[in-house]
Symmetry: C2
Subunit: 657 residues, 2 copies
């Protein structure tokens, strides 16, 4: 389809129209809607469920199968001690402020961002530079809030503007107390009430519950699937025959009790995520398949650029980024490139995809480095995939807490042979001589470094030596009490805690931004929305459209359905009582890439037309040939331009538009 | 494979050996094991995850795709009002008792069952009839408990035995207070301590939590996915163009805070379920595809047989069962047969599958009829699929609570025309005459039945009539105050609340019983476990075994892998440093149905051997032909006997056993 021109930008992106489509066709809807809904909870209807299932299926192929990852399916309910150890109970929190009069709860960083953005917008307006706020700049609620906050447009000084812009560029780097300071310094109040807000307090984002009938076993719903990977590390390593590197992967539900979720699927309290934990030797973070992705070019926004208050991206190949040290190592680089390839394959616009490195205060408590794949959409840039280097943090803390070693034992090809001086104490005489001081003295000797031990050895050879404790007590050592000798050590096993590189995907965010990137309206018909979803993720691949629901078409409909199913192509029949054009239009809204029409000619000549969604171009051919071509199209073996060479164009009398 | 004899019962089922295999190969393991584990929570490792994913994939094809069901993916976290309305807050509970001294919590019905079973076993022993308890009669803990409870074998009277057997057969029908009575009457104590137990108390099985930062919005983790289907009913109906019958379906996690889960995957606190809600006209529960399953024979255990204390099944076709009224209607019957077909397709032994109807006290509060698909396993008969007729219960209560109509509006082909007498009041004179009594009088007239209205009409024609209120006050009515006339009513829309038939699958239970049904050991080698999983659900379909990991085999391994992947067949390579026989044996434990070996002959002649897991038979042929045959085998197009006709047998020198 690449070389056939369709003008998808004839109409500007119209967010309310997209949202109306998604709601009307039940891609998703607020959960518990008839009970008034709950912020941050959404249900996926039939097309949304299928789209998500197809994204997951492609994810599984692209990551798990391609790289032989070990899949897990672990529990959501987690006993509290696990998250106490991992640090989530203490630190997995956001900063919230309360309206000092109404008690309404707001997330501190979002408050600062919204108010400052509103002030900058007001300034633009006061300077006469303001464009009418576009529908795609903000969802309605946000717009209303901004309108309220800005009141009469106020012109700011150039210094204020610069200061505000600097704050926005580095907002993720502010701590809670610093956010409180900002509120005081810039007189930031609750825009809904104009009341002052309280000092920021931490609010833990985990949902709490209790396991069992006694109420004595607190539990949390996991906020990420990762911890269960780590706890199963020994089993996974064994399953992989003890070999490292390898990765585990899991697709599952996680929960975060967001303070005030408001951005549709972009910020929710319950979400499906897909996580990979790739275990690697900390001394060797090369990746054996890095050469396959070396030339993939990414748009990068690194930590240093952001710290200087800028947000301009640099485009370079991942090979260059790793060589220059911008991306720390090959394994991290491999995953950034693979994430890029996956997102583009399912339909994300590469021009609206960047990789942003976390600033130091912004990182989760367990991470030493982190790059987010951010996808641009009507609310700005949104983190959709995080790719963190968790180092050995998690495996180390769980191992320490439980006493269960979470380590790799690697047989060394060449044993490492070392020699060193070792003190041996004469148990009988030593204790008798020094009594309760014995242990302290032995400890001092054992902690001497090589030169000090050699010195001591020399003194003992002379007859005696003196050592002094930290409290200044002196003891005399003689050769009958201890000897110091050179010994040979052979180490044939190396034991280490692997580092973990973690690509973590928020599937709802990817799904929503994909819908935005896919949505457009035909030049001649703004009313008709089209979702240009790639066939690989489209809920239905082929629509079968019989001219009518009459009995004479039924055998052909069954035949085509069955042949498509056999070819592994998911189709649906639309035999509703309306024109073929209307039925196609309705399925353009669902993103169905291809349609086939069965009419009287089909009954007489066994021919069928094939229609492509984006171009609305049509071809015609014998039924079996059309099935073969559409199967190749759906499987990505050919594109529409190639299909046009295989089958003649159809410009028959039957109007389909 | 049907017609090639393999003796799978040479060794009796050995549960500890199966459990060791499942644990060692990480099919699943206790979650949070290194933290000491949590009862009722399990993690699935790589083969368990794949097996589950394949069962789900087959379920989706068998039910959702085959019957065009509308798939949903809804949230687990649910605001409390939903479950208050549905009745779960009040009634979704089990009865628990506490040990009167230690406070240990036990589930009341399980306590009664375990103690009575132990007494019956003791009686058998005392009568000299006891067989040694088989490994497959109980898991270890249960056995230990039974041993403890029975102490010295005590002989019971024949009356006691009969009484105990009657209790066991009807145990599910006992209420909490009745269970308490049983404990007192039969002196049932905590077998671990011999202490008396408290009166049974209800314990709600839902996990509670709180939504949002204020703590003011209680929520529960769903114990079933069903409620979200019902709450989305209007959207689903619209998606289906207003047509009924149709079904929604969902696969997802649910939670039940079991009192004391002890039976491995058979009773857990968090589980993946697959639920179908089929909406049907209460006046027409026929099913258009019933003829397709009419002749499917099922083993049925109906309510009446159980109530008489028996457990003998009757085998009959579902057509006959519906005709005789044993199964209430075609739709329920259709699903029972489809459930049967699904379970047998994925490998459940049909001889160990029965359908048991719930007794009246046993049913969930929302159900009017319910049949469980029960699968026999080492713990007895376990409910794995429930098939309930929830009637209009849920849609009605939610509709009433929210004021949102959850109904079907059906255009009638023929409008229903009715005539009836209707009173019309003269607004001016009526109010003036009767003042504050007007409403009460109008109410009385409007509630008169047809004959009474006719009588009143006659009296008015005579000049006046008298009516009397319930308090005995009399009022005189005259023709200037009201007239009664015959009017014609035309109803062109029928509005009704559909009934819901709900097949609900516990995937973990199905997975575990499937593993039991699939497990056996070779006659000549009891050590070697085999899982005879059908190819459709086996985690890996084909094992690729190069003679060694040497570089010369690498190109062929890549070629065969790639060709199988292209054919849609999931394969794995085992190039570990051990004999081919050992590698096959290791993969028999994982249930891999086919293996291909690449050796020097493959390099020279491009031939490959093909091995079948159950028979260990081997064939040989050109690589591409073997790939074609194994693809057909995996897709179920041919069986092993047919494969043996397509390729010559291999009895080469290379030992593979």
């Amino acid at each position: 389809m690449a070389n056939i021109q369709v003008n998808k930008t004839a109409h500007p992106f119209d967010k309310p129209r997209l949202e109306a489509l998604l709601n009307r066709r039940f891609f998703y809807a607020p959960a518990y809607e008839i009970y008034g809904g709950v912020a941050g909870l959404y249900d996926y209807g039939p097309p949304g469920s299928s789209l998500q299932a197809n994204i997951i299926s492609e994810w599984r192929k692209h990551f798990i199968i391609e790289d032989h990852m070990l899949e897990l399916d672990t529990t959501i309910m987690t006993p509290a001690p696990v998250f106490e150890t991992s640090g989530h109970v203490a630190r997995f929190a956001d900063w919230m402020v309360k309206d000092s009069k109404t008690g309404d709860v707001l997330r501190a960083d979002h408050l600062v961002k919204n108010v400052i953005e509103a002030r900058l917008a007001g300034d633009q307006e006061a300077r006469g530079l303001a464009t009418q706020p576009q529908a795609d700049d903000a969802d309605k609620k946000k717009k209303k809030k901004a309108d309220k906050a800005k009141k009469a447009p106020v012109r700011l000084s150039d210094e204020e503007v610069a200061e505000y812009e600097r704050i926005l560029a580095t907002l993720d780097n502010f701590s809670g107390p610093e956010l409180g300071e900002l509120c005081r310094k810039y007189k930031i109040t609750n825009p809904d009430t104009d009341n002052e807000v309280t000092e920021p307090q931490e609010f833990n984002l985990m949902f709490a519950s209790s396991i069992g009938p006694t109420g004595q076993h607190p539990g949390y719903l996991r906020p990420e699937t990762a911890q269960s990977h780590f706890l199963n590390f020994s089993r996974l390593l064994e399953f992989n025959n003890g070999r490292v590197p390898f990765a585990s992967a899991q697709i599952g539900r996680s929960f975060r009790n967001e303070i005030s979720p408001r951005a549709g699927l972009l910020r929710v309290r319950e979400f499906t995520m897909a996580e990979i934990e790739h275990y690697v030797d900390p001394d060797d973070k090369r990746h054996e398949k890095f050469h396959e992705v070396r030339d993939v070019a990414l748009r990068l926004l690194d930590r240093n650029v952001q710290s200087s208050g800028r947000t301009d991206v640099t485009s370079m190949t991942i090979g260059e980024a790793v060589a220059k040290g911008i991306v720390a190592n090959e394994t991290l680089g491999y995953f950034l490139a693979r994430i890029y390839q996956f997102l583009v394959k399912i339909g994300i616009n590469p021009e609206r995809l960047r990789f942003r490195q976390h600033m130091s205060n912004e990182m989760a408590h367990y991470a030493t480095d982190c790059w987010d794949a951010e996808i641009h959409n009507s609310t700005g840039w949104t983190e959709c995939v995080g790719c963190a280097d968790r180092a050995a943090y998690d495996l180390t803390v769980h191992s320490k807490k439980t006493g269960h070693p979470l380590v790799v034992r690697q047989a060394l090809k060449e044993p490492i042979v070392t020699e060193k001086e070792v003190a041996e104490f004469n148990k009988k005489t030593f204790g008798k001589t020094f009594g309760k001081d014995s242990a302290a003295i032995q400890n001092i000797v054992n902690n001497l470094d090589e030169p000090a031990l050699l010195k001591l050895k020399g003194e003992l050879a002379q007859g005696a030596a003196t050592i002094t404790t930290s409290e200044g007590k002196e003891f005399k050592l003689t050769p009958d009490l201890l000897t110091i000798e050179r010994k040979t050590f052979k180490q044939s096993i190396r034991e280490y805690t692997p580092n973990v590189i973690e690509p973590s995907f928020g599937l709802g965010r990817i799904l929503y931004t994909l819908l935005e990137h896919s949505f457009w309206s035909r030049e001649q018909d703004v009313e008709r929305g089209v979702l240009s979803l790639p066939a690989v993720v489209a809920p239905t691949k082929v629509l079968i459209v019989p001219l009518s629901a009459k009995e004479e078409f039924a055998p052909l409909v069954r035949e085509v359905s069955s042949k498509l199913r056999k070819a592994g192509v998911f189709s649906r029949v639309d035999d509703s009582n309306t024109s073929i054009g209307k039925r196609y239009a309705r399925n353009d809204e669902l993103g169905t890439p291809f349609g086939v029409t069965l009419d009287f000619a089909s009954v007489q000549n066994r021919t069928m037309t094939l229609r492509e969604r984006d171009t609305t171009g049509q071809l015609i051919g014998p039924i079996d040939e059309v099935i073969a071509v559409v199967t190749d199209l759906v499987q990505g073996n050919i594109d529409w331009a190639e299909a046009c060479k295989k089958l003649p164009a159809y410009d028959g009398v039957q109007a389909v538009e």
